[in-house]
Each structure stands twice: as structure tokens, then as C-alpha cells.
Symmetry: C2
Subunit: 436 residues, 2 copies
Amino acid sequence: MTGTTLDDYTDRYARRVRGMTASEIRALFAVASRPEVVSLAGGAPYIAALPLDAVGEMLGRLGSEQGATTLQYGIGQGTLELRERICEVMSLSGIDAACGASPEDVVVTVGGQQALDLVARLFLDPGDVVLAEGPTYVGALGVFQAAQAQVVHVPMDEDGLVPEALEAAIAELTRAGRRVKFLYTIPTYQNPTGVTLTEARRERVLDICERAGLLVVEDDPYGQLGFEGDAPAPLRARRRDGVFYLSTFSKTFAPGLRVGWILAPHAVRDKLVIASEAQILCPSAYAQSAVATYLGTMPWRQQLKVYREVYRERRDALLDALADLMPEGTSWTSPGGGLFVWATLPDGLDSKAMMPRAVAARVAYVPGTGFFADGTGGGHMRLNFSFPPPERIREGVRRLAGVMEQEIATRRVFGAVRGEGPRRGAGSDTPGPALA
Amino acid sequence: MTGTTLDDYTDRYARRVRGMTASEIRALFAVASRPEVVSLAGGAPYIAALPLDAVGEMLGRLGSEQGATTLQYGIGQGTLELRERICEVMSLSGIDAACGASPEDVVVTVGGQQALDLVARLFLDPGDVVLAEGPTYVGALGVFQAAQAQVVHVPMDEDGLVPEALEAAIAELTRAGRRVKFLYTIPTYQNPTGVTLTEARRERVLDICERAGLLVVEDDPYGQLGFEGDAPAPLRARRRDGVFYLSTFSKTFAPGLRVGWILAPHAVRDKLVIASEAQILCPSAYAQSAVATYLGTMPWRQQLKVYREVYRERRDALLDALADLMPEGTSWTSPGGGLFVWATLPDGLDSKAMMPRAVAARVAYVPGTGFFADGTGGGHMRLNFSFPPPERIREGVRRLAGVMEQEIATRRVFGAVRGEGPRRGAGSDTPGPALA
């Protein structure tokens, strides 16, 4: 087979990723990782806050003293030891035995991403609809796109997903004869907005999904990273059935180990394990031992507090800098936890078009377009505060404000941002008045 | 949503794994792992042969000294450092820069399983046909089943896949209007047979696939575990295009880290990365560093020799025990490397039906039925020699022979094996005269 034939073959057959292009975020990380750039683009935890000497010592012992087990194959569902520890972690958030959480129904995954992909693999057929917040996690959009499903965004405001909008979306899709498979939601310290679904709305959202016979896929990577007391209990803590609960140790311990999990309704637990075995055979025994040993022998609750303190200080630095430096007409969310702030630009600015100029000014962010399936979102940007230290955050905002002032000035002179065609989505796609 | 509704929902929608049941091998491992059972069922490397103290020390340093990188997120394709090391490893087998192998075209995966799943995800649509050796790797059958593709087995003999049978299968499927996507093959020390495709046949198989416009997916986990000199060069070393080369460090270093790779045709490398990002975001930075550091600082070529020596001794123990103890009418392969021997039972015995009695006699194997998509293979079994020490192997064969003698005696008395309905596949499904 010649190279040309292979291209033909690929064009003809590689339909599952046809149209899939490298995500904006991936392309961005290449430039954003240059040391001179202040990156507000990432989503990385501040690993240096871990006690790396102690973690290293633990990791070493797992190899030298338990290598015959930790370096060997394991079982597809994940070790019982880790699944029991995961249940302890979930019980902190109110997901406990009383609401039916059991190690039996936990499936260990390769980070939260595989958890999401397994649920998609289990339920999505081409042409299906998934409901999700608008904006939502970019990696979820990748999963749903790979499954050839369509994402319909439900608007949010400062209280999270708008229940009336959810009801309306379900009604409209039902009338149109579309098959809606589930609601995908990040109710707490959402990525990318930092917004948390309020207590009252949690019950309403669950009721609406229950009435419509819709599963809920609850993604909760940030729930234990609250800065001002506890977040409202997860959706899974309120319903035994109908909710898949997904989480990860990537934000509370370390993403480099790639350990996440699904707490699945019992009826589908086995199917998830089989699907995972087909995908990866088994999760890393070593990484599972590392997380289980960390949870079993090291002060992980204390470490959660450390992360919360570091991130609260950095969130404050970001919010202060935004208040001090952003041009008039800019607004932003005030997250109670998590890693992100969602900013809305002055009318007429386009975060995607502005990116090259921002990078030239040595600051990076993720344009809002990355978080919508339909390419809207250009009037917004996601700003990360977990990784850069406070003074770098302020410097980044200063550079960003300078770029925006320049854009605004250029726009005033030319009536539009230089060198661009009609801009899609800026201004008109605000996800709700309170966020806009 | 009540539990009942969820069941309905699952029945209605979880079609991708509908019909998927826990593999025979998984169920088997639960009993086979009891200490009193001699397990010839596994496929695990003998991890105790690693210098665990030194490996542990290295793993510890990766955490304490490089934790800020190794415990952090990485990129979807995998680190350049590891991809360069992988190219060094492949060059030992003749896959080098001269035949177009480059770190640019390597995608790091979660073991060989994810490599296979990504290729399937890229190319397979429901109803497609995949050609594969009969028997073939059980995990590949899981992947193809999850993709709702049909596996058509091509018979093997002691020289590997039979080229004439491959040609005939392609012709017949083409006549029937079926869409054949690729040939999946393990040409060297195959799982489950241990058989190696001969030098002459490698060229013929490649020519046949090239003429038919068929991609080749070459799975090579065992190629560097030869006991009697080097194996014939991999298919990928003979063709720049049209061959996906898949391998893993699970057999040559340690499966617990879950690190494998694909060397992909350049035209599809990016699509594989995007598909992998949708599935797992990125492979473990820690596990990648562990493998790259192992390859960069420890005597891994020497360790390969250690593994080969250990496995050669155990293969000899297995072959000797089979020759000394097996009842008349039993035959088996004589692998030049790898982890497995494929045994063919005396006419009338059924390896699947016999399993409970074997486990009662404290010996386990994998029934041949696990390696065929159509449930045939009951006249065969896979025997592993990499994990149990030689004296345990001999004891296992002694127990197995006892069970078989008993089956034969029972069969003589009753005319059929006691307590069974019509047996499917035994005897009639031998994969080729030389293996039968």
C-alpha cells in the first residue's frame, strides 16, 4: 500500500475522527508553556504544594517492597483497596453508604476523562443528543464529538444551570423527535465558569431529569476545593439511582498518576468494567497503589486544606487584579472554589481573534469558543488561577488588560477589530444575563 | 428515576456492550488466583525477575526530585523523551529510521490494549469485518466486539497464518460485499499459540494485503522475547506504509505501569492523538518517566536477557512435562519465544467443559474457546509458562493430565463426557493440520 493509498483509505474510513481537529487548547499549550508567557490558560494543579519528598519516598517503597504486585497486571474494575478509599473520599461530600455508595459500584478509571468516555461509550449512538451547560468542559465536548453525538447547551447564570431552560430544551428536543441520552453537568465550581449550582436548583434539576427519564452524568473534579465552607451536596448524594458520579484525583492529589473513578448505578457497573477492559485492560496497579497508600498513610485531608488555601489566595489575586485593571465593560464570575474564572469581554471584543496579540504580549488564556460545541463563546475567556503564583497572575492580567485596551482603541478607530471578517458569537452568545 | 427505570434505560440504550459478558478469562482469574491452584491460565510476566530495589529507588526519585513534572499533566501524544527511547527499542527489531520510524509518529498508549482500541476506534464501523488469526488474542476480540465489528478468523499452521487461507478469505468476503477494514496479526510468538510467522510468509502476507488495499495491524508484545536467536523482522520493518505497529512494555518491563505505543503511518498519527485525548486526555507522565528513565539509566537489554532465560527454562519445563505426562492423542506447539503453549486435546475432550474439574484438581488454564470470536476452540487450551516456576509447571501438568485421563475414562464408559449437552467446537475447529 502506498502512502497515497493510505491517505485515501484514511479519508474513506477514519470517519470517527473525521472533522476532529486538535483542540484549541492543545495548540495553545505549546505557546503558553514558554517561560516568558504568563499562562492563565492551563488547568493544572499546583503540584509543588505537595510534600514531594514524602510522596517520592512512598512511591519508591511501592516499587521496592511491593513491586511484585504494583508492577503487575490488576483487575479491570480497580483494586478493592482503592475503591474502599474512594468511598471514604466521597463520604466527605455526603455520598456514603446511606445513599447506596459502595466499593462494589466504583470503577477506577484513567483520570476523569476515561470515566466520561466510558459513559459515552456505553450510552451514545451517532446522532444522539447530550444536554450540557453552556459553556462546558472542553474534554467532554471531545468525548461527545468522538461519539458523534450532538451537544445542546443549556444556559447558566450565576446560580448555575437554569432549570427553566433545561425544561424548555428537553421539551423542544422531544417535540423534534430527538433522542436525548443524558444531562452532563459539573454542578460545583464548574469548568470553565467557576459557578456552583445552588441548593434549590439541585433538587429542581434532578426532578426535571427524573420526570423526563433522563440520566444525569455528574462530573465533580472540584467539589472538595471550596474556599468558603462546603459546597452543596453533590447530586449523587441526593439520588441513589439515575446519577453517574464521576471524579478524579487529578485536582486533589496529582494528575500525573491518571486515577479517576465512576460511581455507577449497580445495573451498569459490570458493563462499564467490560467496556474499560476493552479499552485499557486494567488501570495501572502502581498508580492505584500510589493513590490508595497516599490516602491510607499520608495526611490527605490536610493537603486538601493546603490546596484550598493556595487556590483561595490566587483566586483573590485574580479577582483583585481584574477589578483593578480590566477595561470598562468587562465582567467576570466570582467562584467559591475550583480553578477557574470566566470573564466576559466588553462588547465587540473577540477572545479567539485576540489570542495571537495576547500571546505576543506574553499572556495566554483559553478563548470561550473552546467550551461551546457550536463555536460560539468568542465574547468570553477562561482564566486559570491554580497554577501561576499571585504576582504572576497580576502581571498576566496587566498584560491582558493592555491587549484589550489596544483592541478597544483599534476598534474605535476602525469600527471593527483589524483584519477580521464578521465575528461569530461575540456578545450575542452570553450564557445568561448574570454571567454576561 | 427508579432502579427499574434505569434497568429499562440500560436495556434500551447500552447497546454498545449489549451481549458483552465478562470474559471467560476474567471469571477464571478469580479461581485461578487461589494459592493452592497452579495457574497456567495467566499471561503475567515474572516481575520478581526485575531488580526491584533499583527500580524502587528510581521510582522514588521520580517523585521526590521530578514530581513537579512527573505528577503533572502531560501531552496527549506522550513525552518526546519516551518516544525517542521507544524508537531505540524498536530499532533492535529492525524498525529504524531507514524504514521511516520516527518519534514524531509514535503515540504513547495505556498499554497495548489502548493502542488496539484506538486503531479500532479510528477505523471500525458496526458491521465491518476484521481478519485475524484463528485463534487470536482475547483482548483484541473484546475490542472488535465493542466496536460491533465481525472477526473472521484465518487459519494458522506451525508456520503461522496461512497465506492461501488469507487470500481465500479476502476473496470470499469481497464477493459477499463485506467491508474488510484490516488484518490484525500477532506474527511473532503469537498469543495464544506461541507460533511465529515464517520469513517467507511475512512477505506473502504483506503482498496479499497490499494488493487487497488492506491495512495491517501488527501487534508485537513478545517479539523481543525469543529463546533461540532473533525472530524474523516485524512486518513494519518491511513496509513503511500500510502497517500499524503496536507494542508494549508490559512483557519486557512491567505491566503495572500500563505503557504501550503505536507507531502509526504519518497520515493518521494526529487522528490517533485526538482520539486518545478524547479517551484519556494524556498518558501518565509518571509512568512515562518511569519507563524512559528505566530505558535511559538501567541495563534494560540485560534485563531482556534475564526474562528470556527465565522463560526459556520454564518453556522447557512445560514442554518436557507435556511430553512426559500428557495422555496419548494430545499435541502442542513448541514456541520459540513468548509466554504461551497451545495444546490440542485428544479427540472428544472439551477444554471449556473440563474447566470446573480442572479447578477442583487445583490446576487452571484458558479454554481455547476464549480465543475465537465464534465460540469454537473447545478442543484446545492455552498454557502459560512465564509466571509459575518450573516445578509448579510440572505439578500443574501432572494435575491436568490426571483430569484429562479421568475425562477420557469417563468418556469411554459413557460414550460422552458426563453431564453435558452437545459439545460445540471440540475437534472440528482445529486451526490447521499442523496445530491440531
